[in-house]
């Protein structure tokens, strides 16, 4: 019965279900769902569906206008639907088995993403002066999207193995160094926005892990220093910064995008000018279907639309952080806090930039903007959070990435996988305390 329950997609291992498990098999599964699980799923699906509509609205006009009406107005909608569907499958699977797999593969994921971050600088496709994509013919992937995920996974794993690490800068150092290296590679692309997101997301993990305020302030100052330095050496970033600080100065030049975003929002008023009726997406707003989608939302659906989007993200954040609080182990807690923060930070940076509260950095609105890599990665992250929400846990791998310095052996990961399966089918698996993770670590170090 529990196997069937799994197949149908309902959490079979919530506390309530676990209690009744042996007597009443698979009964009242809906009641077994934690509220935050449903909230999270609802917010995600709403944002996703809303995003598809807005991507279509924002992209169809320019699609039609660009090629004299010959190109497919639904091109971006179709791709969003395709990748959205694929992403939902990924999310669905991850929500069941993702946590174990992700933790086990963290070293590999981190290694691969660092490798891709180096590779993209060599063989990447350059669009608008940024080398962010690797073209695999049928699909383009954005290594920095994978890197965001990898660093949060790594940070959570590292800090969960030995919570005391979070208490000192020394302890955090491996995490800071890896994050710094990845961020540096992303900055070189250049993609300062994503680098900042990575930094903030890892920072949120550190906060959740209980890092001392003194250390956090020091890290924040260092981050600010580097960001400022990077801005000063790069003319186009400088132009964006001055454009932000003094938007009226050059409305036709660097301030153009910011000014157009404001015009889009303002002309939407309270209720917007109607979905699909926006004019600003017709080349006034650059990247209307990606970075500037919230401006299109503001124009077409007004303040109501913006409040709706912010509301959905708030709901997502509340649910995500509730999941973190209720996680059964430190790893789950840290991972969920990190992943939720990752998505919320992106949303915040995007909305701040569009609202003219921060310089434009080219960050898409997660789940809403067009962007295939981002969509897949985000849905994978949501899947992981859902897995934790269902009471899932993952034991630490035998090898520690930094301390051990070697990639996990194939043999070991396979045996670990087998052990996981056993633990899951054994009803007490969810009851395994955080100690289990520590035990694993001890075994590894010992």
């Amino acid at each position: 019965m529990s196997a069937r329950a799994l197949a149908l997609g309902w959490p079979a291992r919530s506390r309530k279900a676990a209690k009744k498990k042996r007597k009443k098999r698979g009964r009242s599964r809906a009641a077994a769902l934690p509220a935050e699980y449903n909230m999270l799923l609802t917010a995600t699906l709403c944002l996703l569906a809303f995003g598809a509509v807005m991507v279509f609205s924002a992209s169809s006009t320019t699609q039609v206008l660009s090629d004299g009406g010959l190109s497919d107005s639904a091109f971006y909608l179709k791709r969003t639907a395709m990748f959205g569907a694929a992403g939902l499958v990924v999310m669905h699977l991850t929500a069941r088995h993702g946590l174990e797999v992700a933790r086990r593969l963290t070293p590999a994921i981190l290694a691969i993403s660092l490798l891709l971050l180096v590779a993209v600088l060599v063989i990447g496709t350059t669009v608008n002066g940024s080398t962010r994509w690797i073209d695999f013919g049928f699909v383009q992937i954005q290594p920095s999207e994978l890197a965001k995920l990898a660093l949060v996974l790594y940070g959570a794993d590292l800090l969960a193995r030995r919570p005391k690490r979070a208490r000192s800068l020394d302890g955090m150092m491996p995490c800071l160094l890896v994050t710094g290296l990845a961020s540096a590679l992303i900055v070189v692309e250049p993609d300062l926005g994503t680098a900042l997101i990575v930094a903030f997301a890892v920072g949120a993990t550190l906060i959740a892990a209980g890092a001392r305020w003194r250390d956090l302030v020091l890290i924040g100052l260092a981050l600010g220093f580097f960001a400022l330095l990077l801005t000063l050496v790069e003319p186009h970033r400088m132009a964006r910064l001055t454009g932000f600080l003094n938007p009226g100065a050059d409305a036709a030049g660097s301030g153009f995008q910011a000014a157009q975003a404001k015009i889009a929002l303002g002309s939407g008023g309270i209720f917007g000018i109607g979905i699909g009726n926006g004019v600003q997406k017709a080349f006034y707003l650059p990247e209307a279907h990606t970075d500037m989608i919230s401006a299109v939302i503001g124009e077409e659906l007004g303040l109501v639309g913006i409040v709706g989007v912010v509301g959905l993200f708030s709901m997502f954040g509340y649910a995500g952080l509730q999941v973190a609080k209720k996680a059964k182990d430190g790893y789950g807690m840290l991972l969920v806090a990190g992943l939720t923060s990752l998505i919320l930070v992106q949303a915040t940076i995007n909305l701040f930039a569009v609202m003219g509260l921060a310089p434009l950095t080219g960050v898409p609105l997660p789940l809403v903007s067009y962007g295939n890599s981002s969509l897949l990665v985000t849905l994978f992250a949501v899947g992981l959070i859902l897995n934790v929400a269902r009471g899932g846990t993952a034991r630490a791998g035998k090898l520690r990435v930094i301390d051990g310095g070697r990639s996990p052996a194939r043999e070991r990961s396979r045996s670990r996988g087998a052990g996981n399966r056993n633990s899951r089918s054994g009803g007490g698996g969810n009851r395994r305390p955080r100690r289990a993770g520590h035990g694993g670590r001890r075994r590894a170090s010992g």
Partner: protein, 550 residues
């Protein structure tokens, strides 16, 4: 564990704060600054253009167009945006059929805007648009076209650059014909391409005016006048053709012709519709009214005989015949047929100034006929208290007063149509609605009118002043006029107005034609200059209108 929960709560609080800032900022931008930003959006996204309301058409009596408006384009230049003015001018010149240098000047002017060509037809405008020349733009406009060319040009009139009526009915009926411009808002993308059109105010086209003019008769009349023009080189000439039964104007021709599409270098005098705008002393054609008055006052009958000396003295003036003769005895009918000056004055003196003055008024002289044509002249008729001793030696001959050809037509139509004077009708319908038929009023009895028609037949009979003119199968009636032009109070020895007014069939008139020729050269007599023109027009129009011979 407490720390963790507190930290997570802190994270959530942090994000919530950020989101509240976002919502606050959105409320500021979309609520408080919304109106202003919306106007900025409108400023960069939209453009309001004028959509011209097309001017109404002028139609002939069959409803076929004489003047119509169609969409056109005005080509303008923004000189500083024109990349290669010489090359651009060389491309535009053959398409616009204009002088290349002239176009070049408009492309190189110092201002930011200059007109290259006005009222270009749409196919030509499309060819220019396909050239995709930088700095050359188009504005919607309309142009007036004339499917019948210069036909009735003085009657229809001309329009100006703003499609406003300048002359003729275009000016007189401007309020009817004029369309109301509308406004259209164009929503553009950032590259300036239109993505949406919204109508702000609908343009409404002007109303059509249907005339009573018959294009075939008009055309014939104009051709006949052209022959007169070629033969006698007059200053000008006009022919009016009406149906005397209802006084509908079938033709109102003028010579010399004008081109309504190009008024440059046109003598303003030739733009005048002489039918209503040319005042002249009528001369002998007026004698019919003198006789009509005497008949109606029962002073004479057509058979009354008068012994007429070669000349007659009235106060300080001596009236002679145009061709000297001895003393003769003439009937009233003969006085009219031979156009005897002495006879007409004799009859006029029998009437006396007071009665005669009243009769001039009754026949409508000194007042516009009300033919619905703008700026109709009323002529000059001396008031009774202005009469001098010699006045009654002039007026019965058609001297000492001035009239328009239209007034003469109205008066003769009363004789032809059984004694009822009507207002001439030039406009049949406005916007498809027939205009009310003018009602007439009786000025002379039907029997007097019949007597006059019989007498006027004599003019074209052997011995009459227009005896050479005939139309096979039809009996004609009419009167010649050869009036000296008064210049500075003295009658000219060389300048005459030759005229003829006639109708047919004489017993049951269905057609009335008046031909007035101003200052013909070579020949001066109404009988030889104007009467043959009447004959030609009648010979065409009678069978054309299906008038049974008689």
């Amino acid at each position: 564990m407490r720390t963790t929960e507190r930290r997570i709560g802190l994270l959530f609080a942090g994000f919530l704060l950020c989101f509240l800032v976002v919502v606050g900022r959105a409320a500021w931008l979309q609520g408080v600054q919304g109106a202003q930003l919306a106007s900025e959006a409108a400023y960069q996204q939209t453009e309001v253009v004028t959509v011209p309301g097309l001017r109404g058409s002028v139609l002939d009596r069959h409803g076929n167009p004489l003047a119509v408006s169609e969409d056109a384009a005005t080509i303008f230049a923004t000189p500083y945006q024109v990349k290669d003015p010489v090359a651009a001018a060389a491309k535009l010149a053959p398409i616009l059929e204009k002088d290349g240098d002239e176009i070049l000047r408009s492309l190189t002017g110092g201002s930011g805007f200059s007109y290259v060509a006005h009222k270009v037809d749409m196919p030509t405008a499309a060819r220019i648009a396909r050239l995709e020349l930088a700095g050359i733009g188009q504005l919607p406009d309309s142009r007036r076209t004339y499917p019948q060319g210069q036909l009735a040009a003085q009657v229809i009139g001309a329009v100006g650059a703003e499609s406003q009526g300048l002359t003729g009915l275009e000016a007189g009926r401007d309020s009817v014909l004029r369309g109301t411009d509308g406004e259209r808002r164009i929503v553009k993308d950032a590259l300036g391409e239109p993505i949406r059109l919204e109508t702000v105010t609908e343009a409404s086209d002007g109303r059509d005016i249907q005339l009573t003019l018959d294009p075939a008769i008009e055309s014939k009349a104009e051709r006949v006048l052209a022959e007169v023009g070629a033969a006698y080189s007059p200053k000008g000439a006009t022919a009016i053709v009406v149906d005397p039964r209802n006084l509908r104007v079938l033709a109102m021709a003028n010579w010399p012709p004008v081109d309504p599409t190009d008024l440059t270098d046109v003598d303003p005098e030739n733009l005048i519709n002489r039918a209503t705008g040319f005042t002249h002393e009528p001369g002998s054609t007026f004698k019919a009214f003198t006789i009509a008055a005497a008949l109606e006052e029962k002073l004479v009958t057509p058979e009354s005989l008068f012994t007429l000396p070669p000349a007659i003295q009235v106060a300080d003036r001596t009236i002679e015949e145009s061709h000297a003769r001895g003393t003769v005895t003439m009937s009233v009918a003969e006085i009219l047929a031979h156009s005897s000056n002495v006879g007409a004055v004799t009859v006029g003196l029998q009437l006396g100034g007071e009665r005669f003055s009243r009769w001039i008024g009754r026949f409508g002289f000194g007042r516009p006929t009300g033919v619905q044509f703008p700026a109709e002249e009323r002529g000059i008729v001396p008031a009774l208290d202005e009469y001098s001793g010699s006045t009654m030696g002039n007026l019965p001959l058609g001297q000492g007063l001035s009239v328009t050809p239209m007034q003469m037509v109205a008066g003769y139509a009363a004789i032809a149509a059984g004694g009822v004077l009507r207002r001439p009708q030039l406009i049949e319908a406005v916007d498809g609605e027939p205009v009310p038929k003018p009602s007439g009023h009786r000025v002379i009895s039907a029997s007097v009118a019949a007597d006059l028609r019989t007498m006027l037949e004599g003019v074209l009979a052997p011995g009459g002043t227009a005896s050479e003119v005939s139309v096979p199968g039809y009996t004609l009636a009419g009167k010649t006029g050869t009036a000296e032009v008064a210049e500075d109070g003295v009658y000219s020895e060389t300048k005459y107005v030759a005229s003829f007014i006639g109708f047919a069939p004489a017993r049951d008139p269905r057609l009335l034609v008046a031909v007035t020729v101003d200052q013909p050269q070579g020949d001066i007599y109404g009988g030889s200059v104007a009467a043959p023109a009447f004959g030609k027009i009648a010979a065409f129009a009678l069978p054309y209108l299906g008038v049974p011979p008689g």
